[in-house]
Symmetry: C2
Subunit: 245 residues, 2 copies
């Protein structure tokens, strides 16, 4: 393996090229190969050199390929392009270490003695807070925030009691990839004793030209979803104080 290759595992932030870090921007401009998985508008990819190879390696909704196969094909590409001494950017939405599966790819690079680096990015939960002016913490109001993937197991939300307890302190919960769970989540929280008036922010396609913010409440979700069709990806922020300034 030549030593001039570099695999940059890059958190791209929410999608706006202006919200890339300076370092990520440099790597994208210089990249020979870009492996990307989220459909984050095309603008970030347009920063690449005309001759750069751009490969989509992400999931296609309801596709047949299992996660392990997909991940292995990414690793094959790492090895292939590293062997060609190329500069590879592995581009991930947000930050790769929170709901981004960066850890597995770092481990692969380490185990295979690839020359790699990890560049942090602005995760969607943080970005949406600034872009829509919804404070996650505020002096005298709350001193924590929970980021959660909203997973279900055996039909039930994991950590529901914990999420409920965070909300009861007045602190917010930020749910990633939560749009298709919103209705069930609101019902479950209501049954668990969260008041129907507690605000919910649904923040769709943040930082992109067609971003849109919606506001509803625990009790209002059913009606909200009848009248609106927020697009994915959406970040959902629930909490007593999560109102736009």
């Amino acid at each position: 393996m030549g030593i001039s290759h570099l695999i940059s595992i890059v958190g791209a932030g929410p999608g706006d090229p202006d919200l890339l870090t300076v370092k990520a921007h440099k790597r994208l401009i210089e990249a020979d190969v870009i492996l990307y998985d989220a459909l984050m508008g095309g603008e970030i990819l347009e920063l690449a050199k005309p001759e750069a190879i751009k490969l989509y390696v992400g999931k296609i909704y309801n596709d047949w390929q299992n996660q392990e196969e997909r991940q292995n094909s990414i690793y094959s590409l790492f090895l292939h392009w590293a062997g060609q001494n190329k500069k590879v950017v592995r581009l991930k939405t947000g930050d790769s270490m929170i709901f981004g599966r960066g850890a597995e790819e770092i481990r692969f690079c380490k185990e295979n003695s690839l020359n790699y680096e990890v560049i942090p990015g602005i995760t969607a939960g943080i970005a949406s807070s600034s872009l829509f002016e919804i404070p996650l913490t505020e002096r005298g109001k709350n001193s924590m925030v929970l980021f959660h993937a909203g997973h279900r197991e055996n039909g039930k939300f994991t950590d529901l009691e914990l999420i409920t307890n965070v909300l009861k302190t007045g602190s917010p919960v930020v749910i990633y990839m939560g749009l298709n769970k919103l209705s069930d989540m609101a019902k479950a929280l209501s049954r668990a004793g969260i008041e129907n008036t507690i605000p919910i922010q649904v923040l769709s396609k943040i930082s992109q030209s067609d971003e849109k913010g919606y506001e509803t409440t625990i009790g209002g979700v059913a009606e909200f979803l009848q009248q609106n069709s927020p697009e994915t990806p959406s970040i959902i922020i629930i909490g007593k104080h999560v109102v736009r300034i």
Copy 2:
């Protein structure tokens, strides 16, 4: 008030100028006035024009000035420089909406019809995860992360039961501004039933040239602090899986 002023409330990220966003970098280069509060190495401030006015408006350890007075003096500066049609960058470490008091300053700008914008940044908890290769979430291991200010009230940590319950699921807790509370926090968690072997990462001055990462455990904190003196600011990450890859 002229319309050519702009107040940019900028999350600067952890300190490395390369981890500024492209947008924050642009604003810093063009700024007439920079109001900064964290001593984040000088490198970010060096990006400014030579003639830019740089004013430290932050807290000095144990200083006499109360928070309200300090905040009011920042607002006076907003009004003063906006009145002079200047480009003002209000620079905050990390992101202004999480443990950053951005909300209050946004509210002031709104109420006073100032022309402002909010630019998100990489919060220290996220940055430290990538920089030290400590995954915050990982498939099959955990699906949430709690960010907490580690506040105390009447001598007791707020939300201690909740923090304990998050740790018991195997998910991590990220404590901001936690260095001087580390010893008490570890004891309190141990009393609450968290195993002494659970790892703790102490990540000091992240992304700066003298950054340093330390590893200890719930049971090892007392000895660790006898042998090491991590510098502030430090981020503390506690959790079953928070080991460096």
